[in-house]
Amino acid sequence: MTENEGSLIFTLLNRAREGDDHARDELFEKCRAYVGFMARSQMETWMNAKIDASDLIQQTMMDAHQGFDQFRGKSEAEWIGWLKKILQHNTVDFCRKYKGTEKRNANREVSFAQSQSQSLFRGAAEPDANEETPSEVIMRKENEILLADALSKLPDDYQEVIYLRNMQQLPFQEIADKMERSQGAVQMLWLRAIKQLQEQMQHVE
C-alpha cells in the first residue's frame, strides 16, 4: 500500500516534470491540503492565535507553481522539502505583516528572515531531503501528502479534532474547551475521525 501511494506522487511528479500539464495540476491539487495543514500549524503555533492561513497557502502554491521549472529534485522527499522551504519563506512574510506593530516580535522576525533567506537561497537549487527525524525510522510510513489530502476530505469537525490532538498535540481537555464540547464528546469525535481517516487511506488508489 505504502509503495503504491508513494508512487502516485512520484509518478505525478515525474510526468509533470516531463511537461504533462494535467499531471502537474493533479500534483498541485494533491499537495494543497498538505501545504494547508503545514501552513496553519506553523502560523498558529507561532502566533499563538487562530489564523486564517488561506492567503499563505494560496501564495505558497502560486510560488511553487511558478517556480516548478526550477525544482531539480527527483524524489518525493525532495519535493516535500522544496514545498516546505517555500512555505517557510512565505510564513516569515506573513507573520511579519501580521505582527508588524509588535516590536519585539518584529525584531525576532528580521533575524529570522535573514537566516531563512540565506538558507532558502542556498537550498533552492538542491533541497535537502535530509530532514528525517529519528521517529520516522521505526514508524511504518504513510505518505504525508496523501494523508493530508485524505484528511482534508473529512468533515470539518473531524479535521479540527485531529488537527488539535495530533498536530497541535493538545490534551483533550483543552480541545474540549476550544471546540466547546464535553471532553467525552471530543474523545469520541477523535476516535471516529481517526477511524474514518484510516478508511480513507485504505481506499486511496
Binding site: T2, F37, M38, S41, Q42, T45, W46, K84, Q88, A106, N107, R108, V110, S111, F112, Q114, S115, Q116, Q118, S119, R122, D128, N130, E131, E132, T133, P134, S135, E136, I138, M139, R140, K141, E142, N143, E144, L147, A148, I162, R165, N166, M167, Q168, Q169, S182, Q183, G184, A185, Q187, M188, W190, L191, I194, K195, L197, Q198, M201, Q202
Partner: protein, 559 residues
C-alpha cells in the same frame, strides 16, 4: 497512562472505549517520543496496527512543524539579549524532545538557547555520564568551509583542559545536525548570580582570579575567547567559576568580520572591547578579552556593566567614545586600588591594559593580600582626558566658556580701563554660565529629568550667550559666532528636536541683539544673512543627528 480512562464518560460501547484508550495511549507515547512504549503498546494490542501509520504520520506533521519553529525561535539569542541567561524558550516546542535519542545521547531536558544552537542536558549512554550538548543550528554552518572551520576550531577547543573551563569532550554529527558535548555543570551562570545585585568585594575578586587564569590558559593555547560575559561563566555547586563557549565566537559570527557579512550584531555589546565594537578586526587581540574581564569585574562590583543603553548602537557608541562612570561613584567604599585594576582593564587603548590575563590575576592577588597593585594611578592628562570623555556635553561647554573668559580677562589686563564698565558683568555671566553647566551635568546624571533637561540646557546656552553679548556695548563683529557654536553643541544630545529648538532660540537671541544692541547688525542684510546661515547650520546638524538615529534604528531592527 492508559488506565485513567475508565472514568471518562461517553464512548458508547466497550470495544470503542478500549480502542480509544489504546489509540490515545499510543498517541501520547508517540508525542513524547517514547518509541519503546509505542512498540510495547502495539505488541499488547495488535488491533491498533492499521492506525499506527496514520498516527505516526500525523505526528510527523507536528514534529516537522516544531522543527521549523525551532528555527524561528533561535535567532532570539536568549542568553545574551533578553534575560541575560540561558532560560528556556517561552515558545513551546524544540527540535529535540526529552527522552529522544540523539546518537549516543539520550536527551533529558532543554537547558537554554543561544545564538548558535540549543543546549540540552543529556545522558551519554556508552559512558553513563551526564553531559551538556550544544546542537548547532544548521544554517550556522552555511557551507563546507564553515563546517571545516567549525570542526578545526571545536577540536582545538576540545583539546583544552583547565579546572576553570568547561571541557569539550567531543564534536560530532547526528543525522546532519552538528553538536558538541561538554561537561554538564549544575548551577547558575554568573549572569544569574548578578541579577540579585553586586557581589562582595572579596567574593568578586576571588571569582575573577581563576577566571583570568583560565582565560590566560586559553591565550597560551592560541584560543581567544572573544565573547566573555557573565552568561558565559558558569558557577558550579561549590561556586567555582567555569568559562564556557570559548574559541567559538569566531566561527559563529560573533566576530566582527562576520558581523559585516551578516549584518547582525550578536549579543550585547556591553562587554565588548572598543576595538571589537568598532569592528577593527586587526586590532582584536588577547587584550580584547582582558577588556571583557574588566567589564565583568565592573559589573560584579557595581551591579551593572560599564555601558548599557537601551539601543545597541548607543551602547556601541559609548563603548567606543565614552568613559564608564567611576566604580567608586556607584559603590562608595570601594577600594581605590581595585578601581584602578578595573579601569586599567577598561582602557580604550589596548596597549594600556594588562598585557596578559595572568598579570591581571596577579594584580588581583596582590589586592587580596593587601599589597599595592601595579596598576598605576592615571596621569593628570589622561585623567582630564577620561573626565572629558565621561562628560562630553559639560566639558565641551566648559572649554568654550573658559576660553571666552580667558580672552576677556586677558584683554582687561592688557588694555585695562577701557573695558572696565562691562568687564565685571560679562565675567559674572560667564561665571554663572559655568556654574549652570555644572548644575545641568549634575541633573543629567539623574535620568528621570533627562528629556526636558536637554531642551533646557540648549535654551540656557542661547539665552546666556545673548546676555553676554548685550553687555558688550561695542561693535560685536565676529563675537556672534557664539550662536553657531551653541547650535552645533546642541547636536551632541543626538536629538533632532533639541537641535531645532536650539536653532530657533539662537535666531530669537540674535533678533534680541538686533532689537536692543546699539550696533548690531552692522548692516541690516548682514543680519539676515547671519540668521539664514544659522538656519542652514541647524538643518545640517539636525540632518547629521537624524542620520545617526536612523542608523541606530537599523541596528536595533537587526538585533
Amino acid at each position: 497512562m492508559s488506565n485513567d480512562v475508565g472514568d471518562r464518560p461517553t464512548p458508547s460501547d466497550e470495544s470503542e472505549e478500549l480502542l480509544f484508550a489504546q489509540l490515545e495511549a499510543y498517541t501520547q507515547a508517540l508525542q513524547v517520543g517514547e518509541h519503546t512504549t509505542c512498540e510495547r503498546i502495539l505488541n499488547e494490542s495488535p488491533e491498533i496496527e492499521p492506525f499506527i501509520g496514520c498516527l505516526g504520520n500525523l505526528n510527523d506533521f507536528s514534529v516537522v512543524q516544531s522543527r521549523s519553529l525551532a528555527d524561528i525561535n533561535l535567532p532570539e539569542y536568549a542568553p545574551t539579549i533578553s534575560s541575560g541567561s540561558g532560560s528556556s524558550s517561552s515558545f513551546g516546542s524544540s527540535m529535540l524532545k526529552p527522552n529522544q535519542t540523539f546518537g549516543k545521547f539520550e536527551i533529558e531536558e532543554e537547558l537554554g538557547r543561544g545564538g548558535m544552537g540549543v543546549v540540552f542536558r543529556a545522558r551519554q549512554t556508552d559512558l553513563k555520564r551526564d553531559v551538556a550538548i550544544k546542537v548547532i543550528r544548521s544554517h550556522q554552518l552555511a557551507d563546507d568551509e564553515d563546517l571545516r572551520r567549525f570542526q578545526i576550531e571545536a577540536q582545538a577547543a576540545a583539546r583544552l583542559k583547565h579546572p576553570n573551563i568547561v571541557t569539550v569532550h567531543e564534536i560530532g554529527e547526528v543525522e546532519g545536525q552538528h553538536y558538541f558535548a561538554m561537561d554538564y555543570v549544575t548551577g547558575d551562570t554568573l549572569s544569574d548570580r548578578l541579577k540579585s545585585g553586586p557581589l562582595d568585594i572579596e567574593e568578586a575578586v576571588t571569582l575573577l582570579i581563576p577566571i583570568s587564569q583560565a582565560v590566560h590558559y586559553l591565550h597560551e593555547h592560541q584560543v581567544m575567547h572573544r565573547d566573555l560575559k557573565p552568561s558565559n561563566i558558569l558557577l558550579d555547586e561549590n561556586g567555582k567559576p567555569l568559562v564556557t563557549d570559548f574559541g567559538l565566537a569566531r566561527i559563529f559570527g560573533n566576530d566582527d568580520d562576520q558581523q559585516t557579512q551578516t549584518g547582525v550584531i550578536i549579543g550585547t555589546p556591553s562587554y565588548m572591547s572598543p576595538e571589537q565594537a568598532a569592528g577593527r578586526v586587526k586590532l582584536i587581540t588577547n587584550r580584547s578579552d582582558i577588556y571583557s574581564l574588566g567589564a565583568i569585574l565592573y559589573e560584579m562590583l557595581t551591579g551593572k556593566p560599564p555601558f548599557k543603553k537601551d539601543h545597541p548602537l548607543d551602547t556601541i557608541v559609548q563603548v567606543i567614545e565614552q568613559e564608564p562612570l567611576l566604580p567608586r561613584r556607584l559603590r562608595s567604599g570601594l577600594p581605590r586600588d581595585l578601581e584602578k585594576v578595573c579601569l586599567k582593564c577598561l582602557e580604550k587603548d589596548p596597549d594600556k591594559r594588562y598585557a596578559t590575563a595572568e598579570e591581571l590575576a596577579e594584580d588581583l592577588q596582590r589586592f587580596l593580600q593587601g599589597e599595592h597593585v601595579q596598576a598605576a594611578s592615571p596621569s593628570l592628562i589622561s585623567r582630564v582626558n577620561r573626565w572629558s570623555r565621561r562628560f562630553p556635553a559639560a566639558s565641551s561647554r566648559w572649554a568654550g566658556v573658559l576660553a571666552a573668559a580667558t580672552i576677556v580677562q586677558g584683554r582687561y589686563w592688557i588694555s585695562g580701563v577701557e573695558s572696565q564698565p562691562y568687564h565685571n558683568e560679562v565675567m559674572t555671566i560667564l561665571g554663572v554660565w559655568a556654574i549652570v553647566i555644572g548644575l545641568f551635568q549634575f541633573l543629567a546624571a539623574n535620568r528621570t529629568v533627562k528629556t526636558y533637561l536637554e531642551y533646557a540646557w540648549a535654551a540656557t546656552d542661547a539665552l546666556l550667550l545673548t546676555f553676554v553679548l548685550l553687555k558688550v556695548p561695542e561693535d560685536l563683529g565676529p563675537l556672534v559666532i557664539g550662536y553657531p557654536m551653541v547650535v552645533v553643541a546642541s547636536g551632541m544630545f543626538f536629538n533632532v528636536r533639541v537641535v531645532v529648538c536650539s536653532t530657533i532660540l539662537s535666531c530669537l537671541g540674535y533678533l534680541g541683539l538686533w532689537r536692543w544692541h546699539p550696533t548690531e547688525p552692522y548692516l541690516p542684510h548682514y543680519g539676515v544673512i547671519f540668521m539664514v546661515t544659522l538656519g542652514i547650520l541647524g538643518a545640517v546638524t539636525a540632518a547629521q543627528v537624524r542620520r545617526v538615529r536612523v542608523l541606530n534604528q537599523y541596528y536595533e531592527s537587526r538585533q
